[in-house]
Structure formats: C-alpha cells, structure tokens
Symmetry: C2
Subunit: 384 residues, 2 copies
C-alpha cells in the first residue's frame, strides 16, 4: 500500500466502460453481437485530439496500466514504470488509453461474460479472437473517444504485436508504432510452451471442457501450472540465478517424497502460480495463447514480412532486451529489417538488461531513456 | 523393425539381473534392505578385466543402451549411435555395461518394486536416491562383474553427472571419465522446469499422493505434461524450427475452442507425451528430477568445484553442444576450468550441432569422431 502516492504517478484512477452495439465480424468468421470494453485513461485529450496514445497489454495484462484504484492497493498498474507525469509516456503531454482486450477477464466482453443468446456464460462458445480483432475493437474505442488518429500505439510482448498490427490494419490512424520485446510471429518453441500450458488447463478435471463456470469449478491446477511455466520463460536464466541461485529454504535438502518447497525458485513459482488462479480466467488464457500462436502478419503475403509492411505509414520504434529468450533481439531485428526493406522510418534499440522478457515491465534507465526520447519527439511534433 | 540387423550393431541382446543382499545406506540417511539392478553388457571382458566401460543413463533412459531385444523391435537401444563394433564405444575392444539406475522403473529396484517390509509397492515410501547413491550401487555391480577399475565411465546429461561423481567418489576405480552435455549443478531455471514437471504429476488427481499403483491408477495427465515440457528443453529453438516451423497440419487455422492439434509442433509434443505414459513411472520421474536438482558436488566444499575435484585421478573428456540450452557449453566449461585449476588431465570439445541437448543421443560426425578418438586412446593404453 502506498502511504502517499508518489508525485510521478497518475494517482487514483477509475476504470470506465464503453458498450458497442454494432455487431463485430471476427477473423474466424463468427459475429459478436455487440461487446463491451473496460478501459482507463491518464492525462487529458487535447483540443484537436492529436495526443492520444494507446497502450496495448500483454498475455496476462489488464486495462489497469498505471496509478492506483484505492489508497489501499498493494501495487500500482502494470506499466507504472513508463506511464505518469514526467515519465516516458508523459501524462502531462499525452492522453494515454489502455483497454482490457476483447476476450479478456477483467471487464471486457469475454468467455466469462454472459452470452445474450443463452443467458449463460459464454465459456468455450466464445468466438476465437485474434490480434487483428483486438485492433478493430480498439479502433471502435478510438471512435468512441473521438480520436481519429493516435499519436502512438505502444505495447510490449503481445502488446507490441498489437502495435505492429495497428500500423498494418489502420495505416492512417496512428502516427507512430512502438513495438517492444515482440516478434513478428511465434517460433515453434514459443508455440510448444503455449501448448503445454493449454494442455495443463484442458487436462485439469475441473476444466469440464471449458464449462467450469456453470459447474462452479475452477481449473486451479491447470492455471497454476500454466503460470509457473510462463514465469520461467519471462525470466532469463541469469535473472533467475541472481534472484534465487540454488538457495535452499531450509539450508539443506530434506530428501523426502513429499516434495515440499526446498529451493527458493520453487517457492517463487508456486506463489506466482497460486496467485494467478484468483485473478485470471482459464478460457481467456487459452484464447490469448491462441491469439499469440496465430499472429503472423506475413502469412497473408507468402511469409514475406516486408510485403506485409509495405503500406504502413507510421514511424516505428522497435526495442528488444539482450537477455530476452522468449522474444530475443533477433526476432525484433526481423521487424526492423522488413521495415528498412520498405524504406520505412524506424528506430531500433537493443537494451542491455539481464531481466529476460520481463524487462519490458521494469524501470530500466536505458529503456526509459530510449522510449522517453522517442515519445518526446512525438510530443514536440504535435506541440504537446 | 530392422529387417536385418546392421553389421555395426551389437545385435540381439538380453538384460541380466544382479541381486545385492547387503543393505545400502543412502545419502538421505535411510537404508535400503538389498536391491536389484537390471543391466546389459556388450562385448567381452578381457582377461585382466581392464576393458570395462560403464555407460550411465539420463533422466528417462534405461539399461537398454544398444542392440535389439527382438527382431521385431521398432528401435534399437538409446545409444546405438555410439555403441557397437567399430563405433566410438567399440564393442570389439570394450566390455560395455549399462544398468538401469536404482529407483528406476525398468527392472532395477525402485518405487514400483515391492517393499519387502509391507508386500506392497514402495510408491512414495521409496527412499530418495542421489547421484552419489547411484555411483555406489554401480560400484557394487562392478564388484559383481569382477571389474575393479573401469577403463572409462561415460554418460550424457544426468549420465554425465554420474561419470563426474564416479571420479570424485572412487578415484581409483576408473581410468577415465567422459562427461557429455552435463553441468556441475542445475541452474535455478533448470530447477524451475523440474518443479513444473513435478507439480504437473503431483497435482494430477490420479497421483493419489504417490499411491496410484495400489489404486490401479496412473497419473497420465501429469506424466504427459512433464514429458511435453521436457521435450521442449531437449530441443533447440533452431531444431524445432527446422523440424516443425509454423506448419499447420490442415494448412489453415481452425479458430475453434476445441483446441485440436493445429501446429505440427503440437502434434509432436502430444505424441511424445502420450507415449511416455506407457513406459515410465511417475514416482521414478519425480525421484530422478530431484536427484538432478540435488546434484552439486561443489556444495560440500563451500561451492568450490575445484576443491571438489582435487582428488580425482581419472583423465577427463568433457563435451558440450553449441545449441544445448538446457546444459549449455558454458556449464561444461565450468567443469573444465575446475579440472584445469587442479592440473588434471582434461580434453574439452565444443561440438557444433543445432539439435539442442538431444544432440548427445545422435550420430553427429564430429561428436562420434571426438568420443571415438578419446576412446581409441584408452583402448590402446590397455592393449585392446
């Protein structure tokens, strides 16, 4: 709990809801009969609505990107390191918007929402949504907010994929795209990890083929395993070594078959796994991992990413972290190379950090400086 | 099935059993009231019993390292690439021995064996065994076979750790130690992956706190998940890309919530997971992962590996594979450096291979050449 809210925080914030009645035809071919998005905003939209910045969240993120909901909150929003007055996404200059993705479980329409056709939770009947669908739904939110063109669309990891997709799908509706710790498509290894997570959830007897909610059940074991596995891939080997080493909680092995927690890393992973159960929905997790697996803008162009990016008009900042092995710098460089092939305006930063993929969430000086300088250029361009 | 057995195979082989009546006090402090090891041998022990080579198996390996049990076998033993007449472990020159580790599930005494005290399977009451315990039990097998001193103890991965431990525990009972794709201790990330695998097994409702055998149950879901996860760590990102890429089995996404197999990599992992259920015991898997986590010969010397190796007398070949991210070359170099610090006789080879950790099982030319040359030197030394 923050005793006092730090002066560089956006402070107390409250989520808002937007309802969209017009049906949405999704990439999978199915139609969603209207939907709702929950979102937060930080800063003030200027008179010509030119200072809007859309922040897109990653796999387990939410619309709560910055500030606090109450003075009792133990933690601020997930991107407090970057969003706030005087921070890289400077809320004195920008109107920052973050929504919970469609299919999410924090207030936007998703598998745990009620299906109007049945009066029951959608569960596994919720249509599969893709990164493209998210971008289209976010464009409706932009309309709702009176923002014709974002000053920037910004995101890390799966959020970076949305920033990239925005530039492809709506070339005229964003001035800049900031793509952090992302990849133009998942590798077979990435898909493999997602598949193990999905199998963990789906093989949990409490999953009930996705209809656990109607049964009053929660596939806790599966969610916990999925999250534990995820966490290993978010940290670098080096970061785990720094954080836990081989430290034994009791100082020595207990050599028994009860498999209690012995190493500190076991304690950390179990804690992360357990706490996830109470804040995430299993069907949403499945859907988000599938959206990741499917993401591949080059696929429609015979695998040629340059061709997929031929019509983008945004300027790009692409950033990667040296110790990220989930989406290593080499994957970001693929995006940069494809943009350069098409003579696009692109800056690239490879940031020295030993935190692994999670670095994109952290207050790393070089990282904040790189994003801050780029955003400053944008702000000057619009007189903000 | 081999239509004809290749001339460089050891051919048809049969496992043998050795029973040891003398109780064995284990590192955990508990005593095993006698035990049995199943093993195979290839080649002929020479008159002075100087050409014995002990092969140690890895996590999911067995005593069946080479040749075929029947002409109908679909596959030979797990190290057919290296063991046979004219191969690096040349059975025309060496008497090669491989036993199933104590605590295993392929014929040696382990959790699925009957506990003489109760007449029931040991299950979770089986004592925890360590790499040191394996080495001690293998020394009894050496006595049984009349081998006072091995020409070499050889192994990959967890097998390499046994080869290292042999040199520490019985400096006078081996002339050479061949440590392939191993590490002097697990990293926090390694332990993390093991912990997820253990949680997958232990959270399976069919695990019954380890007493599944008495209940006629098998924790299939947990074993499958553990194996799927293992397989991702055995392959390099590059190898998975080569093998599967992002190929969709049906050529296009099916966008449905049934989560059938879509990507080839999903099909591979599910197949590997399912086939493991029928050939491996869950309690053994738990125990083997713990033996890995505990392995840390430097721990007794304040973390100083050189000190742990001060009294070894064996010559060493240490080998690592460039794309192995489970036990990368840097981990092997720690062993090499510690041996050099103590002026020990050590050769080191870093082998170019994009197969990941699994490379140690494969017929890679440079790998076979390196091991072959080292073993040839040993054979010449003993006139074999």
């Amino acid at each position: 709990m923050p005793k006092t809210i730090p002066p560089d925080s956006v402070g107390l914030v409250a989520p808002r809801h937007a309802r969209f009645e017009e049906p949405l035809t999704l990439e999978c071919g199915r139609e969603l009969p209207g939907f709702e998005l929950v979102y937060e905003t930080y800063g003030t939209l200027n008179a010509d609505a030119s200072n809007g910045v859309l922040v897109c969240h990653a796999l387990s993120g939410t619309h709560h990107a910055a500030g606090y909901h109450t003075l009792e909150d133990s933690k601020p929003g997930w991107w407090e390191a970057l969003i706030g007055p005087g921070k890289p996404l400077d809320t004195n200059r920008f109107f920052v918007v973050c929504s919970n993705n469609l299919g999410g479980c924090h207030g936007s329409t998703g598998p745990s929402s009620v299906n109007p056709a049945t009066g029951e939770p959608w569960g596994p009947d919720f249509p599969m949504v893709t990164v493209h669908d998210w971008v289209v739904s976010q464009a409706r939110l932009a309309d709702h907010l009176g923002i014709q063109r974002w000053a920037a669309v910004v995101g890390g990891s799966l959020g970076g994929m949305q920033a990239l997709q925005w530039a492809i799908d709506f070339p005229d509706r964003l001035a800049h795209s900031v793509v952090i710790a992302a990849a133009p498509r998942l590798s077979a290894q990435n898909i493999g990890f997602n598949e193990v997570a999905r199998q963990a959830i789906r093989s949990d007897p409490d999953y009930h083929e996705g209809r656990y909610q109607a049964r009053g059940a929660v596939p806790r074991r599966g969610l916990m395993l999925a999250r534990m596995l995820g966490h290993i891939t978010y940290l670098s080997d080096e970061a785990m070594h720094e954080k836990f080493g081989r430290d034994l909680r009791e100082g020595k092995p207990d050599y028994d078959f009860h498999y209690g927690v012995e190493f500190e890393v076991e304690s950390y992973l179990r804690y992360q796994g357990r706490s996830f159960i109470n804040r995430f929905d299993a069907n949403t997790y499945l859907l988000m991992t599938k959206a990741l697996d499917y993401f591949d803008p080059a696929a429609a162009h015979g695998g040629n990413l340059s061709r997929a990016l031929a019509h983008v008009r945004a300027g790009f900042l692409v950033a990667a972290f040296t110790s990220d092995w989930r989406f290593p710098p080499a994957r970001s460089r693929e995006i940069v190379r494809a943009l350069l092939d098409e003579d696009k305006d692109v800056s690239y930063a490879e940031i020295e950090a030993d935190h692994g993929h999670d670095a994109f969430l952290m207050p790393i000086e070089q990282y904040r400086a790189v994003v801050g300088a780029y955003m400053d250029r944008i702000a000057r361009g619009i007189g903000a």
